[in-house]
Amino acid sequence: MKRHFLTLGILIGLVALLVVSVEIADVRLLTRIAINLCIMLVLVLGLQVFMGNSGILSFAHIGFMGVGAYTSSMLTIPLQMRGMALPDLYPVFAELLVSPYLAILLGGLVAAGVAAAVSFPLMRLSDAAAVITSFALLVVLHTIMQHWSEVTNGPRTLFGIPKATTLFLAAAVAAVAIVAALAFKESRFGILLRATRDDEVAAAALGANIPKIRWIAFIISALFAGIGGALWGHFVTSFAPKAFYLKETFVVLGMLVIGGPRTVTGAVLGVFIVTVVFESLRALEGAINQAQIFSEQVVGVTEIALSLAMIAVLVFRPGGLLATREAGDMILRRSENKGTK
């Protein structure tokens, strides 16, 4: 038990440190980056809950992020703007206005509900079939978001979402996500799910109901994604369906894979490292474009760096930077070793 609290202490301490230092620095750009980082923490930890513990790659995660973002937006756009932002909205929702905080929670719940409804049969599949179905699910969700004009304003940008995500809110949700991800990992379900990951046949022989366990993890994972998406929506205040597709999927996946999908500490670390590298590269890109060194705009450097890093990590450290041990384990084990010497 002690080591889990130590892990939580370290990880939440890391987030708190970020908040405090950004507050002290008080630079607008840094605050934006920090909020973004906290939202990414929620999303990546959500993916870790399912992918890390079950060992099954899921592409659909970002689709649920979109579900959360659109649900929350639909309920919070101010009534006087709603006619413009969503002209075809169903009459039932046209007059419904809820507080953004409640809407963020509802966004998560709707995403979880959608996940619960569509995913149960998919959880029977493993390996490549599971990956292809999750990829297909992402495409289906994306197509629906792009064409369901009544709710999403079609492929056009949805605007007028009230700004509600502050640094404190994002950091608080990220901290809750850290606790929840670790709690799930160490719960009965989490341990059973990890057993199915390591040996499907043996786990089934011990009586693990594999589809059900995976299903629960998938719903929790979608809950995280929905909340993360809603937070993001109230942070950027306008977005289009293309924000919830392969590019975003790639970033989230990259953070998780580089950090180490099997540990919560790895997921958190991955978000921090990738964000720092990403933002420095983006600044570099911006500087090059500003100075007009090349005739064309420089784009895509960040993605190239991330994909090279992912390939390198998977080749040289297939489990990510932190493959098996959480922060607390590492520290406790080190002090134990000292004690025996």
Binding site: A136, V139, V140, T143
Partner: protein, 296 residues
């Protein structure tokens, strides 16, 4: 009657292209049991090669051959970069590396060429039309059908009669056993990637010929098409991939002719839901492949 002939030509030319795309994906899947997410980028690479050699004034057919050769090389590169180093580790790892490789190629094109569409040289014959039994149709469609027929026959011959084809089918059936009997694993896998590149290169000529330009994201649609077709037809059966390609083309063309415009935009959602349903109902696809051994 003319409508029917029109439909048949549309269906056959689309089906031929789809079948070749699906075949390129399934030949790798059959042996490795792994999906190559960077498959669509082979078509992109062929397109950009065509664009880059476009100014040289060579005859188009030479340029096309260069482009197809680049696509073959890129297929082999996919094996070396994304598959070989992690092949033995885990399924998830390979899927992620191939996804990463796909992003790498796309953003490479963004960075080094341009995010904007680039026109590619096309032969004059692609823009001509002919009249068959009262139906005006682009010559390109007929060429697609002819190329598909020739490629499919050559491919069938290769897989049935040649040593490498037989070795590949053996590896797809039982990889471990094939290795024990002296089939060199790396050579077989690399050849599968090369053939995959060849098929993608050939089909890209007609696919890009429809559009006339190439953009970094051009590979997504062919990848999705190949996905659906192989899932419908059977993930491990080569014949299944071809059948799946034609079936998908039949569904697509049929929906194009019958669905009203406002439902047509949801077509992708329908077809992908179909993929999920088919995988649940028949995880093997419509055509069962050979009984499979374990992947190594």
């Amino acid at each position: 009657m003319t409508g029917f002939i029109q439909f048949i030509i549309d269906f056959l030319s689309l089906g031929g292209a789809y079948a070749l795309m699906a075949l390129g994906l399934v030949i790798v899947y059959g042996i490795l049991k792994l999906v190559n997410f960077a498959y669509g980028e082979l078509i992109m690479v062929a397109g950009y090669t065509l664009f880059l050699v476009g100014g040289t004034g060579m005859p188009w057919i030479i340029m096309a051959i260069v482009a197809i050769a680049m696509s073959v090389l890129m297929g082999i590169a996919t094996d070396y970069v994304a598959f070989r180093p992690v092949r033995a580790k885990s399924v998830t790892a390979v899927l992620i590396t191939s996804f990463a490789f796909s992003t790498l190629l796309q953003n490479g094109a963004l960075l080094f060429i341009s995010p904007r569409p680039r026109n590619i040289p096309l032969p004059e014959i692609f823009t001509k039309t002919v009249e068959i039994a009262g139906v005006v149709t682009p010559v390109r469609n007929l060429l697609t059908i002819a190329t598909a027929v020739i490629s499919l026959s050559l491919f069938t011959w290769l897989m049935r009669r040649s040593v490498i084809g037989i070795a590949m089918r053996a590896a797809a059936t039982n990889f471990t056993m094939a290795r024990m009997l002296g089939v060199p694993a790396n050579l077989i896998i690399t050849s599968a990637f090369a053939i995959s590149g060849l098929l993608a290169g050939i089909v890209s000529m007609f696919w890009l010929g429809r559009i006339g330009a190439v953009v970094p994201g051009i590979g997504l649609e062919p990848l999705l098409i190949a996905f659906i077709a192989t899932v419908i037809g059977g993930m491990r059966s080569l014949l299944g991939a071809v059948v799946g390609g034609f079936l998908l083309a039949f569904i697509d063309t049929g929906l194009n002719y019958t669905l009203p415009q406002d439902l047509l935009k949801f077509r992708d959602a329908f077809t992908f839901s179909l993929v999920i349903l088919i995988l649940l109902w028949r995880p093997e696809g419509l055509m069962k492949g050979p009984a499979s051994g374990q992947r190594t």
